[in-house]
Amino acid sequence: MARHDEGVVTVGRSRIGTFFANTTGIVFGLLMLFPVYWVLNTAFKPTNEVQSFTPTFLPENPTLDNFKSALGEELFLPAMVNGLIITAMAVAAALVVGFLAALAIARFAFYGRKAIILVVLAVQLVPFLALLIPLFLMMQRAQLTNSLIGVALVYLVLLLPYTVWTLRGFISGIPRELDEAAMIDGCSRPQVFWRIILPLTGPGLVATSIYGFIQAWNEFIIINTLNSPQKQNLMAWLLYNQTERGTAWGPLMAGAIITSIPVVVFFLLIQRNIATGLTAGAVKG
């Protein structure tokens, strides 16, 4: 790196420094990537290669058998469908409830507003596992154990703080002048919410639904506690399957890949905006 670049003095950057930076980057990049690569590697290997004590870096005889055997498992497809239903219900409900709550908190000053914000935030700070026992008891009393709706309800509660908080940030970012202008032009309050604020909150809704999707899709402790083996989602199925069958690593890794696909696809679609989505809500006071 030249010290003078197009006439501009650049930072005291040596070749060595840049080399060091690049090398550490690559080494740690590989460390981050290696386990993921190993999953792929294992998933495409036939059983004898998986169990071999001399590891190979690529499958010698790549096969889709592991995927077939994972997909062919009795409870795989039901688990996938359960997961999709629960996730869809929880995310949709969180968006509706969360948007309205965020509107109230962002657009109105009222008695108890601070208290609500504080409670919502405080709840996020306590590991949810502490609540597993009373939740189990409550769901049992309400006869909502072993039901998809019961699990979706709990997930909704889990997703709400982040949803409300993020959407509140987005809504606070919309100038109040827009509301006022629309009302002078004859919009009613509900119309302002529906026609002005909702469309402008679009990116926030996308960000929160992605977050919600990932959380709900990947959850396994609550569903495993509340539901019987027939009513699990993919993640819980994967773990249940592992303990049942010991070390069938090939199909397990194939199952892990299938389970991760929706999240990865989602991520690749929105990859560019992820940082904005993560932080945008937090910025505006």
Binding site: V11, G98, F136, W217, I221, A256
Partner: protein, 301 residues
């Protein structure tokens, strides 16, 4: 104002407030209530006062678990934040500058995706993968790569190192998220500041410690709290990865796992609730302390 605001407020907040009242506040109250009983998890129960807490005080497993949570609480935030800051800096301003514009190292956009990858894998899957990485015999990934003449490393089967393995996985899983978070924060620091400092001959290290770090303080504070909470939890990994759930010989036992085991394995839901009460107060005091201690040095937070 043509419409009163209260109909809106009540209408918009009724559902979430009701959900919270039932599922969170109600659940906590029940947890407090159950912590004073001998409930097994089924049927009826009797009030036994503070007997559960007395038992807890004398329970050596509880103290072991607490010590392990303390270990994670101390190291997880420090290691993760240090690594994340380092890489975020590398990706954003570490690569040298051209035409007066500082940039990240070569290939920054690719790293951003790579670092975020672990975030996409569910904790459950991460746990399963690392169970494989840390396999204690030659079929384990790391041991498989070691020379044949070496004794295989025990990893999770070793009382001494098992908890460190858990820490490594927690860091591996978390670091990408904070790289992205800090990158976003660094992206919002005006280029002019770096340029001005660069003109004055500041090195990478000076740029980092005198500009980046202070301006990111708010983000770091948030990261600290979230990682601390993750350290209090750690349930998924410990439950799935460790030998005999929390072993060998309780060397990876943590509070959350104790709650789970007591409630759903040992049929001691009352005692588990008492542990839950302890976890509740520990987590809240941690967050409160972090906010109090870091508030006064916050720069423009």
């Amino acid at each position: 104002m043509r419409h009163g605001k209260y109909p809106f407020i009540i209408g918009f907040l009724a559902v979430p407030v009701a959900l919270y009242a039932i599922f969170v506040v109600g659940a906590y109250l029940q947890m407090f209530r159950l912590s004073l009983t001998d409930w097994t998890g089924y049927g009826t129960f009797n009030d036994i006062g503070f007997a559960n807490f007395e038992k807890l005080w004398n329970d050596s497993v509880f103290w072991t678990a607490l010590r392990h949570n303390g270990f994670l609480l101390l190291l997880l935030p420090i290691v993760t934040i240090a690594l994340a800051l380092f890489f975020a800096f590398l990706l954003n301003v570490g690569g040298g500058s051209k035409g007066g514009v500082t940039r990240g190292v070569w290939g920054s956009p690719i790293y951003r995706v790579i670092f975020f990858f672990p975030q996409l894998l569910a904790l459950a899957i991460v746990a399963v993968i690392f169970g494989r990485v840390f396999g204690p015999d030659k079929s384990g990934m790391i041991n498989g790569l070691l020379p044949d003449s070496w004794e295989p490393w025990l990893f999770l089967a070793s009382e001494r190192w098992a908890l460190t393995c858990i820490l490594v996985v927690l860091v591996w899983q978390a670091v990408g998220f904070y790289v992205v978070l800090f990158s976003a924060g660094m992206g919002s620091i005006p280029q002019e500041i770096y340029e001005a400092a660069a003109l004055d001959g500041a090195s990478r290290i000076t740029l980092f410690s005198k500009i980046t770090l202070p301006l990111l303080w708010g983000n770091i504070q948030v990261a600290w709290i979230y990682l601390g909470i993750a350290a209090f939890d750690a349930f998924a990994l410990v439950n799935i990865m460790t030998v005999n759930q929390g072993g060998p010989n309780n060397s990876t036992q943590v509070l959350s796992l104790q709650i789970y085991l007591n409630a759903f394995k040992y049929s001691q839901a009352g005692y588990a609730s008492a542990l839950g009460v302890v976890l509740f107060f520990l987590a809240l005091s941690f967050a409160w302390l972090t906010l109090r201690v870091s508030r006064r040095d916050a720069v423009d937070a």
